[in-house]
């Protein structure tokens, strides 16, 4: 990897990816507010944002990053190849650019959430991470400075979005590497696992007297313990530093998986419509 190659890739990618997830979050929130307004108008005769919630806005932002990383990785690989940059450098730059985009998205979510609460007149809306690591009001209840709590959740949401982006990168890298037939087979396998994996596995294990739910509960407890989540600690508060650290580690693992797939991948030009 060279510094010039990394910086060039990072600048190009950031230009492409920084605004999209943010605009998507804004668009989703604006659409939600509009619908709430219209519903309130139809029910009560006045256009207001009462009862507009913004729960799990952080998870939504993470989902956006996942989607956009899936969309953009192929373009980044091709553009890097077209301009004399190695796949490794492109991938590392992608991690950096998606991390930056995650931070921006997280900042937007952190600002939007209290604004929506304010205009809807409701309580502070709940982030998905609050369900896992304790609510913001809980930390402030324990005397923590509101600024510190907000920074804490900003960092956590950044890493959550980054992890989602890294997972998207890994998926996209697999599709980039595989030929057309392989992509179809992989897609079918994914769909089968998503829709039929649980019931099929449950039936198979039941015959052997094994309770799949118990195994899954143990698995999710293990995940919770690994990520320092509150509910396995028997507490209202989780270990946020452990959570952030593990999200970073898993994102790095996804990055390595993506690298293993793309390092020997032939460049795949995107098809042009009509050709």
């Amino acid at each position: 990897m060279s510094k010039q190659g990394f910086i060039s890739s990072y600048k190009y990618q950031l230009r492409r990816v920084i605004l999209m997830p943010v605009l998507s979050v804004f668009a989703t929130v604006a659409t939600m507010l509009l619908f709430v307004g219209l519903i309130n108008y139809s029910l009560e005769g006045k256009f207001s944002f009462e009862n507009a919630g913004s729960s799990v806005l952080d998870l939504m932002a993470g989902f956006m990053l996942f989607v956009y990383s899936c969309i953009f990785i192929q373009e980044f690989m091709n553009t890097g190849a077209a301009n004399g940059v190695s796949r490794t450098t492109t991938l590392i730059a992608s991690m950096a650019s998606f991390f930056t985009s995650s931070a921006v998205c997280s900042a937007v979510v952190s600002v939007l959430s209290p604004i929506i609460s304010l205009i809807s007149g409701g309580d502070m809306s709940v982030f998905f991470l609050e369900l896992l690591y304790g609510e913001r009001r809980f930390y402030m209840f324990y005397g923590e400075n509101a600024f510190v709590v907000r920074i804490r959740f900003f960092v956590m949401i950044t890493f959550l979005c980054f992890l989602c982006a890294a997972v998207g990168m890994a998926f996209s890298a697999i599709f980039y590497r595989l030929p057309k037939k392989g992509n179809i087979i992989f897609s079918v396998i994914l769909l089968v696992i998503c829709f039929f994996g649980y019931p099929i596995t449950n039936i198979m294990l039941e015959k052997r007297g094994i309770d799949l739910d118990e195994i899954l509960n143990k698995f999710f407890d293990g995940v919770g313990r690994l990520f320092g989540m509150a509910h396995v600690n028997g507490s209202m508060a989780g270990n946020c530093v452990q959570g952030v650290f593990m999200m970073f580690i898993f994102a790095a693992v996804c990055g390595v998986i993506a690298w293993l797939f793309v390092r020997r991948a032939n460049v795949k030009p995107a098809p042009i419509r009509g050709e």
Binding site: R16, G84, R264, G274
Partner: protein, 283 residues
């Protein structure tokens, strides 16, 4: 300045052997014509050099350093390929800006000036351009990047005669103003012959010829005149090709013409690159 060494490179796609043990050196500051019939392996070779696909065996060294996943080596190269590697929804101007991001010596002013000359709409999306204008956009990008080695894979694909002429002229101007290595792969050999300094011919994945233009020209000659006189002259000589039009005939003969005793009634011309190419790749 960069020297590219291609050492024993082989590549196959399934049962198809695209390249077979190709060894070649691309010297600095030279315009190469990379020639071959359809499916000969020209694009495969260029893609391997530019790290877009990987050789099954052999290595590519750029100034003594392997090109594989090596930014420092790859940063010296740029390839204008048949396929579009940028996002189709990207605008032309954004493609130039991307090039400027990656190549520190990218000349944006030059790119915009050429766009005006070609009447290329820089605000148009790449996917909305015709095949010809897409080639134009890629050509301009390649000429403006100021890389040390620039590969052109079918640069004139879809270009009209005027645009083709502009390309050849601008490529030579660029080369004279800022010497670099250009490697041009094209099927329109006659058109490009004037600018090619060294020809590399690939046939069935193997390197057939790697010579400079002077040597190629001295490899043979053509004689034209009355058919009977031409037939008389060509007896016992290595004739590559013949063309007959009414009572007139042109014969393409292999060998050094200065040594031949050519009758004054016959018109003698140096051998064209295209003729030699057809002869080499037909036999």
């Amino acid at each position: 300045m960069s020297v590219i060494e291609i050492k024993n490179v082989s590549k196959s796609f399934g049962k198809n052997q695209a390249l077979c043990d190709v060894t070649l050196t691309l010297q600095e500051n030279c315009i190469y014509g990379l020639l071959g019939r359809n499916g000969a392996g020209k694009s495969t070779l260029m893609n391997i050099i530019n790290n877009r696909i990987f050789a099954d065996s052999g290595e590519i060294l750029i100034d003594g350093v392997s090109n594989r996943e090596n930014d420092k080596a790859l940063g010296k190269l740029h390839m204008m390929s048949e396929h579009l590697l940028y996002a189709p929804a990207l605008k032309v101007i954004d493609m130039f800006k991307a090039g400027a991001c990656f190549y520190p010596e990218y000349d944006m002013e030059y790119a915009l000036r050429l766009s005006e000359e070609y009447k290329l709409n820089t605000k148009a999306k790449l996917q909305k351009l015709s095949t010809g204008y897409r080639s134009v956009a890629k050509i301009i990008n390649a000429l403006a990047c100021n890389a040390q080695v620039v590969f052109f894979d079918e640069p004139v694909l879809g270009l009209d005669a005027n645009h083709r002429d502009m390309f050849y002229r601008q490529a030579i101007e660029k080369y004279n103003a800022r010497p670099a290595t250009f490697v041009i792969s094209t099927h329109l050999i006659e058109e490009a012959a004037g600018m090619i300094e060294r020809a590399v011919v690939i046939k069935d994945g193997k390197l057939l010829l790697d010579e400079d233009s002077e040597t190629i020209r001295s490899m043979g000659y053509s004689v034209s005149g009355r058919a009977s006189l031409v037939d008389e002259f060509t007896k016992g000589r290595d004739v590559m090709n013949e063309e007959t039009l009414g009572g007139l005939k042109t014969a393409y003969i292999k060998g050094n013409r200065t040594q031949a005793d050519i009758p004054s009634e016959l018109e003698v011309q140096p051998l064209s690159l295209q003729t030699l190419f057809i002869h080499l790749t037909n036999s």
